[in-house]
């Protein structure tokens, strides 16, 4: 009897394997993930913990806000509900791949994210293999979309950003620059390299190039060395965490050179006495009145943040609108607008729709070039003044 039961169990087990298998067989590989039961899942692939947890969270807030406004879509006469599937890629390249696989198996038809280029590069292949298109939000390294037909992005790129900062530094009359970058971080080393190329092309001189390790807390030695090199400007593309450590130490050492950085520094946590006068490039400015869509977004987003203390806390305790929140909003809207034009409700058709994107968003118009990058030509230069971010000018690359 016992033997009979065990044989029966084994047979059932085998059948159950086939049952799953037959379900998988139904899935047409050429269509990627297919929408079922009138619910469209959109993956949110962002870091909410780890080094980039703070900035990633602000991006998620922009996406959640967009989702709260536009959560149903009509495709070919059928109404669909849109639900976000959020995963935390932990700012870690290994965790990012696992997180991406989780999204793919949750049957998402498009993915938004990430903040930070390293995690996006690491997960790119997973999305491409599953034939699920991803829309990068603020990952600025060229390698994210390069050679990957399934990755798009709504922000500008590091070569552009590095060049813009070099042009800005040159316009300010600086001729000697020093670069400090994070060893092994794609965003930081990439931006540093493009800055160097552009600055030297303009006729400037790079007098020091220093690197530091992830989780370094003591920059005194590096800063002292850079200061001794006679640099007039320091270019420090880095995470926010590094910024909050490096700036007070630079102030204590009495460094008089101007400090410049990339888009990551637009986060209220860096603001302190030591951050006064720091300049950086970013994607968006909340006080720019020229764009009607942006004005509407800023008002709506602030109201949404203030309505829930939890959201306010996640945004760093204030209702300032970070550029990455605006980009998160735009990325969602690009996908939403593509959904409306879908021919079939699957992720392969989703990619076709995304290619044809022509959308006017909060951070400017979005059209994708052949690599999948948004065509953008302007960056916003901001500085810290009197404990606030102040918009200086728009800068085009020279």
């Amino acid at each position: 009897m016992k033997r009979f039961v065990s044989i029966l169990l084994v047979v059932l087990l085998c059948l159950s394997v086939f049952a799953c298998g037959s379900k998988d067989d139904k899935k047409d590989d050429s269509k990627g993930n297919v929408v079922e039961c009138n619910v469209i899942y959109i993956g949110v692939f962002e870091p909410t913990t780890g080094e980039n947890g703070g900035g990633g969270m602000q991006e998620v807030l922009g996406i959640r806000y967009a989702n709260s406004l536009f959560n149903t879509v009509n495709i070919n006469g059928t109404d669909y509900e849109i639900q976000l599937v959020e995963v935390d890629n932990q700012s870690d390249k290994t965790a990012a791949v696992t997180a991406a696989q989780t999204l793919v198996s949750s049957n998402v038809i498009a993915v938004l994210g990430s903040y930070g280029s390293g995690v996006s590069i690491a997960a790119g292949e997973t999305f491409a293999n599953a034939k699920v298109p991803a829309v990068g939000v603020s990952c600025t390294n060229p390698q994210v979309t390069d050679g990957n037909d399934w990755y798009f992005r709504v922000c500008f790129l590091d070569p552009f950003q590095g060049t813009v900062m070099a042009s800005y530094a040159w316009d300010q009359g600086y001729t000697k620059a020093a670069i400090i970058s994070q060893n092994g971080d794609d965003y930081s080393t990439g931006l540093a390299a493009y800055f160097k190329i552009a600055f030297e092309k303009l006729g400037g001189q790079i007098v020091a190039e220093e690197t530091y390790q992830t989780n370094e807390t003591d920059f005194n030695a590096i800063l002292t060395k850079v200061n001794a090199s006679g640099a007039e400007v320091l270019f420090v593309p880095s995470s926010i965490q590094t910024a909050t450590l490096l700036l007070p130490q630079a102030k204590a050492l009495g460094i008089s050179a101007a400090i410049m950085a990339g888009d990551t520094w637009e986060n209220e946590t860096i603001i302190s006495d030591a951050a006064e006068g720091v300049t950086f490039s970013t994607f968006f400015d909340e006080n720019n009145d020229a764009n009607e869509i942006a004005k509407e977004f800023v008002a709506g987003f602030k109201a949404w943040l203030n309505a829930d203390p939890e959201n306010l806390k996640l945004n760093g305790g204030s209702d300032g609108v970070a550029a990455v929140s605006a980009l998160g909003f735009d990325a969602y809207m690009v996908v939403y607008e593509a959904l409306e034009r879908l021919a079939e409700t699957n992720s392969v058709a989703m990619r076709e729709a995304l290619i044809a994107t022509d959308y006017m968003g909060v951070t400017g118009s979005v059209t994708f070039n052949e690599v999948g990058d948004a065509n953008k030509d302007t960056a916003y230069i901001k500085t810290v003044q009197g404990g606030k971010f102040v918009f200086i000018k728009t800068q085009v690359a020279e």
Binding site: G50, G54, T217, N220, P248, A252, L253
Partner: protein
């Protein structure tokens, strides 16, 4: 390298070195008494930083009262750990108590992750400590300058305590021979508690000095400094207080100069190579006593 730059590097190195020295004393004293490497010491240092954040940010207590709260809290934590995790194992093999110490270390790290989340919290700034001062051409924050002075002062007080007071005499006796001092009527538990209290007091002071110019606290913030201070203690000769101080200064200075030469990737590598080299060629460290096997 100009003279100013050189002096600037020296100041940075001495400053970080003296913090290492403060924490290394905690390792070395506990080892001297219990023959135990207290692996949780780096995490006690980390918890002290969270106590400060609690006191100053969450309860808005002025810094001088917060400072006392941090010291009291850290000492209490250290003594509690000793009572709960080490005291019951006093008669067990030495390996058990060491494994218990590793357990406490992981416990504290995960407790901090659970209570305060893995996101870095910013350390409150103590207004006057962050003032910039100028010594000739060298510019630095006041805390960088105070750190070595305070450390040297504390070390002298400690050496006086050990050489010229009754409790100091008891400590020396216990470290020489545990069993005999017990027979002579020394209250072992009290001596051990006081040893932990001193170690934790120095870790609390070190934590304030360490995190004020590096204001980012996360649950693993104590593990790397903890390891480096352990190396400083071994390098100087574990069990010896002057050894721990010298070890701390040497590691702090060499780290700074390696970074200054542009090899910041290798600064930690060097510290760990130093540990291996010391263990291979001079296991008792610079000032360590030669142990004679009793037959």
């Amino acid at each position: 390298m100009s003279l100013t730059t050189f002096l600037q590097h020296c100041l940075t190195g001495i400053s970080i070195g003296s913090i290492y020295a403060l924490i290394a004393i905690g390792y070395t004293m506990v080892y001297g008494i219990l023959r135990l490497i207290n692996f949780a010491h780096g995490d006690i240092f980390m918890m002290a930083a969270y106590f400060m954040i609690f006191a100053m940010v969450d309860f808005m207590i002025p810094w001088y009262i917060s400072f006392i709260i941090v010291i009291a809290g850290t000492i209490l934590l250290g003594i509690t750990i000793e009572r709960i995790a080490y005291a019951p194992l006093r008669s067990s093999p030495r390996m058990s108590i060491m494994i218990s110490a590793i357990g406490v270390s992981y416990f504290l790290q995960n407790l901090a992750t659970y209570l305060f989340s893995a996101l870095p919290k910013s350390y409150p700034s103590i207004p006057f400590l962050n003032n910039t001062i100028k010594l000739g051409e060298v510019s630095t924050s006041l805390v960088t300058f105070i750190t070595p002075v305070l450390t040297v002062g504390l070390v002298f007080v400690l050496i006086f305590l050990i050489n010229h007071t009754k409790i100091g005499m008891a400590m020396r006796a216990v470290s020489r021979d545990f069993e005999t001092s017990k027979l002579m009527g020394i209250k072992i538990d009290r001596v051990i508690s006081i040893t932990f209290a001193i170690g934790c007091f120095l870790a609390a002071v070190g934590s304030v000095l360490y995190f004020t110019p590096r204001p980012s606290v996360y649950p693993l913030a104590g593990s790397l400094p903890g390891l480096k201070c352990f190396i400083a203690a071994v390098f100087g000769g574990i069990g010896s207080i002057p050894g721990a101080v010298v070890g701390g200064f040497i590691i702090g200075l060499s780290e700074t100069f390696i970074k200054a030469m542009g090899y910041s990737e290798y600064s930690d590598v060097f510290t760990f190579i130093l540990l291996i080299a010391v263990l291979l060629f001079r296991p008792t460290g610079l000032f360590g006593e030669k142990t004679e096997e009793k037959v």
